[in-house]
Symmetry: C2
Subunit: 132 residues, 2 copies
DNA sequence: TTGTTTGTTATATTACATGTATAACACAAA
DNA sequence: TTTGTGTTATACATGTAATATAACAAACAA
């Protein structure tokens, strides 16, 4: 570690930034199933933030099934298969996409451009997978 | 009015729900440029919420250039041309798309499905435009 | 054993966001 | 004048975000 960069001036909470960047790390392949993550305390110290802020982020990811917490191995990326696309996730995804699509449409961004933008962002995220 | 439906149990703030639904109203064509919106007080009363909560939503939309506030006409949908796709908006859009794309990719949603989902949400939003 | 590190839990505090409750102001319209 | 508009100010209650300590049991290393 650490590919994590925090913006303490940002309006998005620190624990949310942590969650996002870890998820992106898994999606991009930088973090592979079974890979260890820093301990709560060491990550908090490295980032200069509080223990509980890291703990909150880890717990959210654990509840989503993206992380496992072993008493032995510490915190690792889910090795037993990632959660699938549940109906609840689909709903949440669509609700957030609707908000973005509306903002884009109002500003005159065409359907093709919006769809292409989505595709490009996805592609840029998972390119160079396996590159560790 | 009113196509606005609030979920007071939701974790998303009331003023954010207001902003989203008004933007979606403009994007879908239900709200046309120049159309009047309810006064702050009347909308607050209709929705059973406080005056300042509506005011906050209206002000955010005013700052984004989606609403105008006339001392005479009251609050109306921007009649002098909507704001375009600025660089700042592009950045914000991409940042939020990245978060969604990562969550989708981690759960095994393929690039094509994600892009198609984005397109479908956009299309469903602006269909039956002009239908008032 | 002892010491250390792990995740976990509890408590307390500060700061900020959210939402409400009143009140008052200046401006425009009936 | 009376009413309704957006605007502004103040105050309050509640919840979230983040920090600061502290303690605990489980696992590991010396």
């Amino acid at each position: 570690m650490l590919f994590i960069e925090l913006d303490l001036q940002s309006e998005t909470p620190i624990y949310t930034q942590l969650v996002d960047q870890i998820v992106e790390g898994i999606a991009s392949g930088v973090l592979q199933p079974g890979d260890p993550l820093p301990s709560i305390r060491s990550l908090a110290e490295d980032l200069g933030i509080n223990l509980h802020t890291v703990n909150k982020a880890y717990n959210l990811l654990k509840q989503e099934g993206l992380l496992q917490v072993h008493r032995k191995k510490g915190v690792i990326v889910q090795p037993d298969g990632m959660p699938g696309v549940t109906e609840a996730f689909e709903e949440k995804l669509r609700r957030q996409l609707r908000s973005l699509a509306a903002a884009a449409a109002v500003r005159g961004m065409a359907e093709e451009v919006f769809a292409q933008e989505s595709r490009a962002v996805y592609r840029a995220m998972i390119t160079n997978r396996g590159g560790e």
